[in-house]
């Protein structure tokens, strides 16, 4: 790839990450603020309702038409969606989900910030620094952490919420989703972070060799 194109891609990544960072901060403050200040401001929907994704079994049948003469039957057996438990939700459950969301939001913000800083150092033609090794380690641990926390949230849903949900036509079936792709990607980034750290140390040593 030509060098100029590479530089432009890095510049675009810098701008995009900057925008995502500020939007994420604004979004997190907005939603967390609404949740926390809900009772004060009288917004009960955000302060006492619980909205969370869930999986369920359904038995829907339909058709798919590919050509004008070819129609085949289609079935939906398993689906994902969001459910909202209206107030009053048990306080303990709200607190647990609020804390889990808070931690996940924090980790996502941390990842975006670390990535943005790495891109900035690449733009300044100085990526091999010890700080970047640390930032990559933050990204790796955060990715693994987010996945494990979401697994924990699924476990809570499966053990506590699911037996309490009753619907006429669907059967709620939560699963513990821990994406091993993300865990492996996190471990790969951890190895790259260590390589970065060693590289940065070698560079520093080389620079301080007179």
């Amino acid at each position: 790839m030509p060098k100029i194109l590479n530089n432009k891609l890095v510049a675009v990544a810098d701008v995009v990450l900057r925008i995502i960072w500020y939007l994420s901060i604004a979004g997190t403050v907005f939603f967390m603020g609404k949740m926390l200040l809900g009772p004060v401001l009288g917004i009960t929907e955000y302060s006492s309702g619980l909205v969370t994704p869930i999986e369920f079994s359904v038995n829907e049948q339909g058709t798919a038409t590919f050509d004008s003469d070819q129609t085949v039957p289609v079935k939906i057996n398993h689906a994902k969606g969001f459910f909202k438990i209206d107030r009053p939700v048990p306080t303990m459950l709200m607190v647990v989900f609020f804390l889990l969301n808070l931690v996940v939001s924090g980790l996502i913000l941390w990842v975006i910030y670390a990535l943005w800083k790495i891109v900035q150092s690449v733009r300044q033609k100085n990526p091999f620094i010890v700080k970047n090794g640390r930032r990559l380690r933050i990204i790796a641990f955060s990715m693994i952490g987010i996945e494990l926390i979401q697994g924990l949230a699924n476990l809570i849903k499966m053990l506590y919420l699911e037996p309490r949900l009753n619907f006429d036509t669907i059967l709620v079936q939560s699963k513990i989703h821990i994406s091993f792709h993300v865990i492996v990607a996190g471990l790969v980034i951890l190895v790259i972070a260590e390589a970065f750290r060693i590289g940065a140390e070698l560079k520093e040593e080389q620079e301080l060799t007179i």
């Binding site: 520093e204 040593e205 301080l208 060799t209 007179i210």
Partner: protein, 70 residues
């Protein structure tokens, strides 16, 4: 740090300034300053040889090993 750099002592003895020595040795003043202030992590034999040549001294006059007291 257990290796002490006595470059400033030798430079004072020979009455040579940092800039002059850097120019004669063929390294930058900034790098020579790093060596003088003991911030360097390693010294090339070629640099040491050039410094000894200019200051007319032995490596031991510039570098000194000090045992850590524990």
């Amino acid at each position: 740090m257990t290796i002490r750099v006595n470059l400033d002592v030798m430079m004072a003895k020979r009455k040579v300034s940092l800039g002059d020595l850097a120019e004669k040795v063929g390294i930058t003043q900034a790098n020579l300053s790093i060596l003088k202030t003991e911030k360097a992590k390693a010294v090339r034999f070629s640099t040491l040889e050039a410094i000894c040549n200019e200051l007319d001294c032995q490596p031991g006059d510039i570098l000194e090993f000090v045992k850590d007291e524990k």
